[in-house]
């Protein structure tokens, strides 16, 4: 019996050909949309600051979509490739300059140069998003400096090249100030190349709408989860080093939607995920049992 070829449902994108084609759900909290649009119009690099899971990445996806729409409108085109690609680089402490810019690989008796994601973004005119930038080593991040000022250029030392960025290129970095310490902080010379947009956890009413939309749960459940989020966030600094994110509340809502009892869903998604301190866990469980029947 002939074997049927397995049908894969994943999608593969070449890094500089990843376009946001559908409008992401995003509820503005303040004037961040207008700020980003202005910064993009002036090609000013943007720093997104905010606690984990508060919507920084979603915001950038939303803005990429909006900017792409404008770009297509300007070009009078509806083609996907006329949009602006979003190139995301998740920073980590082992990220090297070679990982960003590119490196030579051995090929046969010789070597072959391969562009890194930053170089590809510069060439393709995408929005290059360095997520959690403080996780990268400071000496690595320095190489973005010429890209983040008036020069808008990238030096590729190993090739002896200088690339001038495509017109639609912009650099966006993000980090969570909660992690801030002397060991994980941006150099001032880096910080002062970006305008900074600050994000906070959304207020209860907006967060409830986000949860309801993202997890497809009823308003009451979403409202109670948002209430839980608000209460847990009251414990920031004193009892919790990092408070609950909107993302975790959405996860809790999804668990509830799948039939897990609300208290249990909150326990696994909202209590155990954010602290290992047994005493604080007990207190949080009491908050959960107060809010959910």
């Amino acid at each position: 019996m002939p074997l049927k070829a397995k049908r894969h449902d994943y999608k593969s994108h070449i890094i500089e050909e990843y376009y946001i084609t559908e409008e992401p759900f995003y509820l503005p909290l303040k004037d961040e949309v207008a700020l980003f649009e202005a910064a993009y119009a002036e090609r000013i690099p943007v720093l997104l600051k905010g606690p984990t899971g508060c919507g920084k990445t979603r915001f950038l996806e939303y803005m990429t979509y909006r900017m792409s729409q404008k770009e297509r409108k300007r070009k009078g085109s509806s083609g996907q490739r006329d949009g602006i690609p979003l190139i995301t680089i998740a920073c980590h402490e082992d990220l090297t300059a070679s990982d960003l810019v590119g490196k030579y690989l051995l090929e046969g008796d010789t070597t072959r140069w391969v562009d890194g994601p930053l170089t590809r973004a510069v060439k393709s005119g995408g929005i290059c998003y360095l997520d959690e930038v403080v996780e990268a080593r400071k000496d690595t991040i320095v190489l973005i400096h010429p890209l983040a000022d008036h020069r808008r250029s990238l030096y590729i030392e190993k090739k002896g090249e200088m690339l001038e960025a495509s017109n639609s290129f912009i650099l966006v970095i993000s980090y969570n100030p909660g992690y801030q310490s002397i060991l994980k902080n941006l150099k001032h010379s880096t910080r002062q190349r970006f305008i900074a947009i600050e994000f906070t956890h959304p207020p209860r009413s907006i967060e409830a709408r986000i949860i309801a939309h993202e997890a497809d749960v009823d308003e009451d459940t979403a409202g109670r989860l948002a209430q839980l989020g608000e209460k847990i966030r009251n414990l920031k600094e004193q009892d919790l080093s990092e408070v609950i994110s909107t993302r975790l509340l959405i996860y809790a809502a999804r668990m509830i939607r799948q039939g897990i009892p609300a208290r249990r869903a909150c326990e696994v998604a909202a209590v155990w995920s954010i602290t290992d301190d047994a005493e604080v866990q007990k207190s949080l469980k009491e908050v959960v049992t107060a809010i959910f029947e």
């Binding site: 090297t96 070679s98 051995l106 310490s181 009892d239 301190d277 007990k282 049992t289 107060a290 029947e293």
Partner: protein, 707 residues
């Protein structure tokens, strides 16, 4: 009972059937965090005796005493509770009581604005406001519009309680069951009150209306006014109701209350009145029931009215009365009401007898090597103590005495964070310097990893080797990269702080006193204003700076104090435990560092070693900060056996070294060189000639040792 059933684990004792009561102290930390989550504010619990009425109205008493909870909420709570048959039910009662009290802050009872309009009722405040409707505070203005401000106050508090009870149950449906039980409990307590007036019973029962558990007091004269009041309260019970709405509802119910006679309730009217007729009327009529709103104006007004019977200059007009009367919305059938006495009072909610409750200290015993025949019998451990037993070194007999010392470990109590914050403020420049120094510490060491598939750069030797291999016909491995890799800083440090009585010594005690006239030659104010600091105060300051400095590094650190009185009572106080995250709680514990008793160093060091040994860190440090040689009651063959104490401490420090823990002794005793040379042998130590340098020196020593 559901609710918290699945969350609160019953202690082992309950399964044995021996007790089910709760000492509040045992659940205080849990409820502290819980209340902080609910309100975002600090909560100060005031455990003690409190009647059900004083608990319900604690919020008002706090406001009336002139201490509205701007930063801290004061919660009145009984020190123990054992009325119900199970631990869970008793805990639920505690939870409901604290929720009710903090809810007044969460739902803005304290933020009454006289000029803010009600969203539910037509505002009568402005119509009633006349010449007396003035005052320095919104509440003062409000109560001044009534003929009888005291009655108005009682009605308002009851009405506001109704609003809060509704909102709590609306926003915290998981509490409903326990909360209702608490309300029923309150009604039961009311039923036992003797000598209450009809009018007061009317006010008390307003909260009972909200849970439909009507008529713990079977008095026909109350049916109609209560049902009329219920119609008003039903309007108030919405999720959007604000304190201004309560104020408006209270105006209406005040008018109803005036129609209820002040005669004493008929004997036997109390639903459960035949037994335990306590508390008596004074509980309800007196200060305990409800603190008077202590403004001079109101008091004066009341005095004048009491003495002369003079009416307020701004009574309710006939028109207003008529308007109020028109707002009655139908009265429920009295028979229905009458048929419900005690209906809301489930059997389980009826208080039971007193149950014996005692803590077991055995379960906390970590080591069972303690030999009773050798021991000075320790007093039983307190609830929050953990007992551990350690050997002591007898250098004369050249052997350990097994399980000789009992270390009582407990978390240091909490004060406030004032000392901590003030120290940071006063030592701002020193703190900045220490931080700068610490920032220079390498967070990580880099080393070059070779033979990698991928990396920062090629290793020329490896590339050449690969090419040679290829030419020779071998398959290249491709491992020609090098990469800089990090060795993370992995330090665990325990600071052991001497809290012996001698640390109460003043630092500047030897300074010659100055005659009054002589002081004018100098900066007099500076002289007299200079605080007379003690050794312990400098130790505390050092700890504050250390915490700040180490937090920037992210090292794992613990801070412990020790003192004691004899070998059976070595106190080991946790200020900040290893792995415990830093926060307000730690700041408040630092405030409580204070001189206690003696200095039995050996067991305290051994206990700290056990702590550090459990850490997986690659570098472990033990810092001993003391003000003199070890000395304690019978620390040796007699009270003054210095040699014995020094040798035991020396042995304890050596035990640390054997466990790969680096000990270091820092003393502020200028005579320290004499004994430290013996005590520390080849272990690091330092004697500070000038104790004032301690806050600077301690962090610097730590920096040096942890590199």
């Amino acid at each position: 009972m559901s609710g918290a059933n699945d969350q609160i684990k019953q202690p082992e004792q309950e399964t044995a059937g021996s007790y089910h009561g709760i000492e509040f102290a045992s659940v205080e930390p849990l409820l502290q965090v819980y209340c902080r989550a609910l309100t975002g504010k600090e909560v100060d619990f005031a455990p003690g005796k409190g009647s059900h009425t004083s608990l319900r109205n604690a919020w008002w008493n706090q406001l009336a005493s002139g201490n509205p909870p701007d930063g801290h909420i004061k919660v009145l709570i009984p020190a123990s509770f054992m009325e119900y048959a199970s631990y869970v039910d008793n805990f639920c009662w505690y939870k409901a009581v604290v929720t009710q009290q903090v809810a007044h802050s969460e739902f803005n009872s304290f933020d009454f604005d006289f000029d803010k309009e009600s969203t539910i009722f037509e505002d009568l405040r402005y119509q009633l406001k006349g010449e007396t409707g003035h005052g320095s505070s919104p509440f003062e203005k409000y109560f001044a519009i009534f003929d009888d401000p005291r009655l108005a106050m009682q009605v308002f508090v009851a009405v506001e309680n109704v609003r809060i009870n509704y909102l709590v149950k609306h926003h915290y449906p998981g509490l409903k069951q326990g909360y209702r039980r608490m309300q029923e409990y309150n009604l039961l307590a009311l039923a036992r009150v003797s000598g209450i007036t009809l009018r007061r019973a009317f006010i008390e029962l307003l909260e009972g209306l909200e849970i439909d558990a009507i008529l713990a007091i079977d008095e026909e004269a109350l049916y109609e006014p209560l049902n009329t009041a219920k119609d008003v309260l039903d309007l108030l019970c919405t999720s959007s109701a604000a304190v201004e709405d309560s104020a408006e509802a209270a105006i209406r119910i005040y008018q109803i209350a005036l129609t209820v006679p002040k005669k004493a309730l008929a004997s036997g009217s109390g639903g459960y009145g035949s037994e335990n007729r306590e508390p008596n009327i004074s509980d309800l009529e007196g200060q305990e029931f409800m603190g008077n709103f202590q403004t001079d104006k109101i008091k004066l007004d009341m005095e004048i009215k009491a003495n002369t019977g003079q009416k307020s200059s701004m009574p309710m007009s006939a028109e207003d009365m008529e308007k109020l009367a028109n707002q009655k919305i139908g009265i429920t059938d009295i028979k229905d009401v009458k048929s419900l006495p005690g209906s809301g009072l489930s059997a389980a909610s009826i208080p039971r007898g007193v149950h014996v409750y005692q803590f077991s200290h055995d379960k906390y015993t970590q080591v069972d090597r303690y030999r009773p025949e050798d021991a000075v019998k320790p007093s039983p451990a307190e609830a929050d103590e953990r007992l551990s037993y350690y050997d002591e070194w007898d250098f004369r007999e050249n052997r350990y005495i097994s399980s000789w010392c009992c270390v009582r470990e407990k978390v240091l109590g909490e004060g406030n964070s004032y000392f901590y914050d003030k120290t940071l403020e006063n030592r701002r420049s020193l703190m900045a310097e220490i931080k700068r120094q610490f920032e220079r510490l390498p967070a990580e060491m880099l080393y070059k990893a070779k033979n990698l598939d991928d990396g920062d750069e090629f290793d020329l030797d490896l590339v050449i080797g690969e090419l040679i291999d290829k030419r020779a016909g071998h398959t290249p491995t491709g491992k020609v990269y090098t990469k800089k890799k990090k060795i993370q800083r992995d330090v665990a440090v325990a600071f052991l702080l001497d809290m012996s009585g001698s640390t109460a010594d003043l630092i500047n005690k030897n300074r010659p006193t100055m005659q009054y006239e002589e002081s004018f030659k100098y900066d007099f104010m500076k002289f007299v204003m200079q605080p007379r600091r003690r050794i312990i105060d400098l130790e505390k300051e050092s700890i504050v700076l250390l915490c700040q400095a180490i937090e920037t590094l992210g090292d794992n650190y613990g801070i412990y104090g020790f003192s004691g009185h004899g070998r059976a009572n070595v106190q080991f106080l946790v200020i900040k435990d290893l792995n415990e995250s830093f926060g307000e709680r730690i700041k408040r514990r630092v405030d409580q560092i204070a001189p206690i008793h003696g200095t039995r160093m050996g067991p305290a060091i051994r206990h700290t070693i056990a702590r550090l040994d459990a850490c997986g860190s690659s570098l472990k440090l033990l810092f001993l900060v003391s003000d003199g040689y070890p000395q304690d009651s019978l620390y040796g063959y007699d009270d003054d056996d210095k040699e014995y104490a020094i040798h035991d401490t020396k042995m304890a420090l050596m035990e640390a070294s054997q466990k790969n823990i680096t000990p270091f002794c820092l003393t502020v005793d200028s005579a320290g060189n004499d004994y430290l040379r013996t005590m520390c042998d080849d272990i690091g130590y330092e004697v500070l000639d000038d104790i004032e340098t301690l806050p600077h020196r301690l962090p610097m020593l730590y920096k040096k040792l942890s590199m």
